[in-house]
Amino acid sequence: MRAAVIQFPGSNCDRDMAVALRSVGGDNSTQIVWHKETELPEGLDLVAIPGGFSFGDYLRCGAIAAQSPIAKAIVQHAERGGYVLGVCNGFQVLTETGLLPGALMRNAGLKFVCKPVDMTVQTADSDFTRGYAQGDKITVPVAHHDGNYTIDPEGLAQLQGEDRIAFTYDNNPNGALADIAGILSANRRVLGMMPHPERAMEPAHGGTDGVALFRALADTMALA
């Protein structure tokens, strides 16, 4: 597996993401790429956009990051069929680039929510989620102020009809439409999710339910 973690000013989960990827792909699998780069490393399998507060959440969460020099290269990577994982602020960046539909609004309760949440795996049909079974209950931490996913009724019907809702919350912490915690692109190679699987990798984290996601990715890319 060859992976890159994108680093914006204000990213704060970039190192956690790199540690998670290296734990399944090996120490040399993953490099950090600064947002001012205009090209991604050659032969890359996966781009991971980490959590944090890129550009201080100015204007809208993820809006400035989505216009940064590296964003064009990320979109091209996705259009070539490359894998992209966006977690938390990374999910917000993916909706702002248009790689994923919908938008993430201020939490319905207006509070920053930081706690482990119970989720249900809604589809195992992707290279991100095939380490789980559909219906699996997993617990992964969230930490966000703007995770209230919304999309128009046609868009929601499309996500549902194409089996592109990856995870749903069991007890909705932010008002997200249809309890959506994570969604897939049409080609199932771009995943955006608010919860942080990279923070559920070791028993010391309080849980290891994120391991199956990273393990599935590494296994896919080892075969590719």
Binding site: A63, G102, A108, L110, G175
Partner: protein, 76 residues
Amino acid sequence: MKARVHVMLKNGVLDPQGDAVRHALGTLGFDGVNGVRQGKVIDLDLADGTSEETIRDMCEKLLANTVIESYSVEIA
């Protein structure tokens, strides 16, 4: 030249912040506030002759997220 862009959540998109403001006004004793919608005002200082079309392009590409927001442009 100067232009002012108003960005608002689209009709039908729930506005939790506006609703919290409405609630707080009620707590202060202001009766009859039926709704509050909160938006943004962005003032642009532009080169003379910048067209409205260019400003609208700025809105589409960055200033507004047209999935959830609408915008209007006012040229001073």
